[in-house]
Every structure is written in structure tokens, then in C-alpha cells.
Symmetry: C2
Subunit: 349 residues, 2 copies
């Protein structure tokens, strides 16, 4: 007799270990709030790699990473009304919250103060471990499983659930529009989404990177202009020119004066990156005398995910992806580590 | 024959020098953009003292400080239509800007990128030095002289022009309203305005100071509650409770984690203080995972000053002031340095 809770997964057994296929792990215990997906696609996110490496503190091994999951609904609990068997649905970096705290009640479940349940290396309220999308099945709370718009393919949909919403949510929240001039720092997995969102919101977009290697691809993505941040003359030309900067990554030589100096009065420096180092000291003059805002943003709320999917479907925003067979995940991770993808890898079952 | 450009002033001749009365200095050369005031009142601001001490770099001595000026209009140029002889008018920390740069054109003259003219220790475009309000007359650009509302006394009006607008503008800009919970860090010259603005905007207000000495006066000013920031238990109780913090001053032991931890999701930490030290390093988790904003604000624009005067007159916001005769300015400065005023000193001619 097969245990219906067992699933096939590519698991990481410990820091430095290569992913290995297993059918020893079990899905979350079924309840009437559950949705079960037969996974068709899963994006590879930098967080997957960082978690496999215990980069943010000890990982709960064995760990099945992957939080850009898309699949076909195989089963729904009685409390689930927005999804039915056969629908396509996606799951992002969060799969549970307390629903009781002030943030949850206000629709900011992504900032849950009591029990943020991560899609992997985390635990469900019942104590079961969470497992992500490098697998053939996913089971979890219906409140964090979202219907894919009909005109969006599953392979395209996957990477919206982490990279997509992480960049969409703050640009939307800070009111990027046709009067905005948005600098996107880092033209990578996150940044290539940032460029497309800002363009679709009507802004003028400046791609930013520390050298000129991304020049052509930045323009191809839709950037109006490209700024090499190590070029002092070019940086001077852009002084006080931007309404928003979205920082998706930067080096440890980052200094506030250089980047805040690019912002127009009352401008926004929005950081979504999570470097291992601290942002440096901040001289009061640097943020007071030009009235700039520094803010951070963490993934997005369920409401923002739904809004993003709708926005992407309407505006034709599409990640640039390379597809690998799920069985080829070890190679895919290796290529990701080597910085090969332009710009995102999607695993396919 | 008297030189009509000469005026009586209390000037600082150099760093560490006591103010001394002089009639050797001359007002800005008259032109058709000029307004001349017979000064009746001038507030004492911390910036006056810091400038007398060359605290922000070398001061242009001899210097007549004072940028919370109120007087009676004695003369207006042909280009002046909003003021007439006999009106009461006030001048704040800025008395000129280029009117050409993007910030000026957008009504952010306080952030002028080409020629911010300070009310003292600065120069007019024609090269004349600017002189502030520790004097009997002021002359300058009509675009930075504002009519005092009829129902506001001149002595009350004075301190609105620096302390008032510095605290009003950012609270208004960041949309403080009846759903807000606003922490005011520092119950002093700026903070006592902050409390009153936030209350008048409908917010719940928490007075904050490093010890309990200001408890009673904070409640008297209108604070709903009082938080001792050195009390770890109390700080824990207020964790994630505020929508805004207005930082009017803090110690060098400031750390981001402690204060940003008080903010609700998407909350605003607004700094209007200008300490001599830098704000410390910022761990990405501290501002990313609760999506908080850090911003600075510098005085206010002409439009914000006008709006503030109207708001104050309507809502009965009133500074707590102690009045000294202008001839007693040396004593007044001494008392200010000793932290005696509750909360602002106004000099009276």
C-alpha cells in the first residue's frame, strides 16, 4: 500500500550536499484548508541556493527548496472555493500566516508577526515541515495558492511568485507611474522584472549596473537608458534625476551619498536585496537635505500577488526564462550558481 | 544724513564671541522684489546657536542670526502684491532660491539645487550678505515673506517659521491622519510642535524621551501616552505599534533596530534632526522584513509654510513660548544654551 502523503522530491541533505532524489519525505497532513498540486514547473530563486547553503542561519535539512511553484490542482479541501481540481495554481515564498495579527488583518500577511510560514525550511502550525517545489507534488494552505490567469502559460507564471512580486509590489506601492523615472540597480533575475514592471507602469527606466556588460540586454528588456554606476561622469549626469531606485543587488562598496544623490526631491530608494553585509552609516545631511525615502520591501501579500498576476496578464509582462527538466536540477543549480541564466531558470516535470 | 540701509542688530563677530549691538551693518540693496519689515519678534532656534558657534562649518561673520522673524511691513517693491505696508509678515530659515531648477519649479524651493539663500550666514544673488532677525529691520525677497493670519498674534507666529514648518511639513507629507499612531522623539522646541501637529491631524500621539522627566509636560502638550525609550520593557510593549515616528533629536547610542522595531508595517521614520554624528549601519533585515520607510525632511516650502499658518490658525496650534526683550538677547541665548525654555524663546523689540 502506498502512503498517499509520500512524494518525490529533490532534497538537500545538508550544507554543501548535492541535491538527491528521494521519496522518503511526506507532504503536510491533509485538512479541509488544503490544496494539493501536481507540480508542473518551479523557478529557481537565489534564496533556494542560499538556503541549501544555510546562508541565513541553519536550514531545516533535509530541505526541498523551490518557491516559484506552478502546478495543476489535484485535490481541494472543503473550505476551498477559489480553486477546483484541474485549475492551474501557483505558490510563492510564503505558504502560511497567523491571520490574527494586525498585519495579517490589514492584508499584509507577508509581514505576519506571529507565524510566517516559509514554503521551505519552515514548519506548518501542526508541526509538519514545509517542502518546496523541486518535487512532483505540493500540499498546503489554500490562502497561499493562487489561480493562474488563463492567458498565461505555466512556465511563464512560475517566476512571478517570488522574483515577480518582490519587484512588482514596492514599485506599485510607491506609486510608480508615467511621471516616474525609475533606476533599476542590478539587471538580473529580480532586476529584469523590475525593468518590465516600471515600463508597464509607464515610467522612464534607467538600467543600472557597475559595468557595461549588461548594456545591450538592458535596452532589449525595455530600459530607456543605461547607467554604469562606476562611471563618475555618468553618475554626475544623472544626479537628482530619478524618482525611484529599485535596488535588487549591489556591492559592498555601496555608499548612500552616491545613490541617494541620484534621487529627485522626495524620491524613493527601495531595497529588496538581502546582502550578508550591512548598509553603511548614513550622514543626516544626505537624506534630510533632499528629503529622500529609504525603504525595504519583502516579497508581497496575497492581494499583491493576485493584482500582479492580473497586471502581468494585461500588460504582457514576461520573464526571460530557460527551461530545464526537473531531473536535470543538479545541472540547473550549477548553471544558476555560475550566473548563466538570462534571467531565470524554470524546472519542468 | 542717515544711511537708510543701516540697521540695528545684535551680531556675532566670531566663534565664541558674545552677541554685541551694532549699527554698522547694511540691509540688502533695495529692489522691486523687496519687502522691508520692522521686526517686532524673533524666535531663538538651535540653528542660531550652532551657526554662532560655526557648528556646520565656517560662519560668515559678522553674523546676525534669527530665522523665526515676524514684523510689520514698512515698505514693498513694485513686484509685491501679497503684502502691503502695515501688514504683519514672517520670514523663516530660507529667504531666496533660484526659481529655475526642477525642485523650485515643482514648489520645493526649500530643496533648491542652485542657490538656496539662508536667512543668515548666506549671500543674496547680488552678493550682499543676508542678516537675520536679532535686529530691528529685515529686508529681502517677497517670495519668502508670508502674511500672518489675522487671528494669530505676532509673538505666537514667530516660531512657526522654523520649528513649526520643520515638523508640520513631513507629518502632512506622510499623510498623518486619524488612523495614525505617531511617536514624537524628543519633547523640546521641535517636538512640542510635533505633538500638537499630530494631535491636530487626528492621530494618537506617543511622547518619547530617554527618561521620564518630560512625562507630565508631554501629557500637558496633548500626548496620549508617554514612552521612556531607555525602558526595555516599555519599548517591547510598543513594538510594531506606530505608523510614524518623528525624530526631532536622539543620542549617539541610537540604533535602527530599536526604533524601526516600534513601527507598524509600511511605517515611516522621519528624521528632522541634524546631529553631528552619522546614523549607524543598517542591517537589510531591519528595514526589508517590516517594510519600513526612513526619510528626512528639511524645513518646508513656501507653499507648506502658507498651508501651515492656515492650519495652525484653524486648529489653534500654539507654541509654548517665553518672551525676552531683544535687548536682553545675551541672557536669552545663555538660557537657551542651558536648556531652560519651555519650549521656545521669542525675542521682542
Amino acid at each position: 500500500m502506498t502512503d498517499n502523503n509520500r512524494f518525490n522530491a529533490w532534497a538537500c541533505a545538508g550544507k554543501g550536499k548535492t541535491l538527491a532524489k528521494t521519496n522518503e519525505l511526506t507532504l503536510k497532513q491533509w485538512d479541509e484548508d488544503s490544496v494539493e498540486l501536481n507540480i508542473t514547473h518551479c523557478g529557481i530563486c537565489g534564496s533556494d541556493i542560499h538556503t541549501m547553503d544555510s546562508g541565513w542561519g541553519p536550514t531545516l535539512y533535509p530541505c526541498v527548496v523551490g518557491h516559484e511553484i506552478v502546478g495543476v490542482v489535484a485535490k481541494v479541501g472543503k473550505n476551498v472555493s477559489h480553486l477546483k481540481v484541474g485549475d492551474r495554481a501557483g505558490v510563492g515564498a510564503q505558504c502560511g500566516s497567523c491571520h490574527q495579527c494586525q498585519n495579517c488583518k490589514e492584508g499584509n500577511e507577508n509581514l505576519c508577526m506571529n507565524n510566517f510560514v516559509g514554503t521551505y525550511s519552515s514548519k506548518w502550525p501542526n508541526g509538519d515541515k514545509t517542502y518546496g517545489g523541486y518535487a512532483d507534488r505540493w500540499r498546503g494552505d489554500y490562502r497561499f495558492a493562487f489561480k493562474i490567469p488563463d492567458n498565461m502559460s505555466s512556465e511563464i507564471a512560475a517566476t512571478f511568485f517570488c522574483a515577480g512580486v518582490t519587484t512588482y509590489a514596492p514599485l506599485k506601492r510607491e506609486n510608480v507611474n508615467s511621471t516616474s523615472v525609475v533606476g533599476i540597480m542590478g539587471i538580473g533575475g529580480l532586476g529584469h522584472f523590475g525593468v518590465q514592471w516600471a515600463k508597464a507602469m509607464g515610467a522612464k527606466v534607467i538600467g543600472m549596473s557597475h559595468n557595461d556588460k549588461k548594456h545591450d540586454v538592458a535596452l532589449e528588456l525595455g530600459c530607456d537608458e543605461y547607467l554604469v554606476t562606476s562611471d563618475k561622469e555618468a553618475m554626475a549626469k544623472y544626479r537628482r534625476s530619478m524618482t525611484h531606485i529599485l535596488c535588487t543587488g549591489t556591492g559592498q562598496d555601496f555608499d548612500w551619498n552616491t545613490y541617494l544623490g541620484l534621487l529627485h526631491a522626495n524620491g524613493h530608494f527601495i531595497n529588496v536585496s538581502m546582502p550578508d553585509w550591512n548598509f553603511p552609516e548614513l550622514h543626516p545631511v544626505v537624506f534630510v537635505m533632499n528629503q529622500v525615502h529609504i525603504s525595504g520591501s519583502a516579497i508581497g501579500s496575497p492581494k499583491e500577488i493576485e493584482e500582479m498576476l492580473e497586471f502581468a496578464a494585461t500588460h504582457g509582462v514576461k520573464p526571460w526564462i530557460e527551461i530545464y527538466d526537473m531531473d536535470n536540477v543538479v545541472q540547473a543549480v550549477e548553471d544558476f550558481r555560475a550566473g548563466k541564466p538570462r534571467f531565470r531558470i524554470v524546472l519542468k516535470n
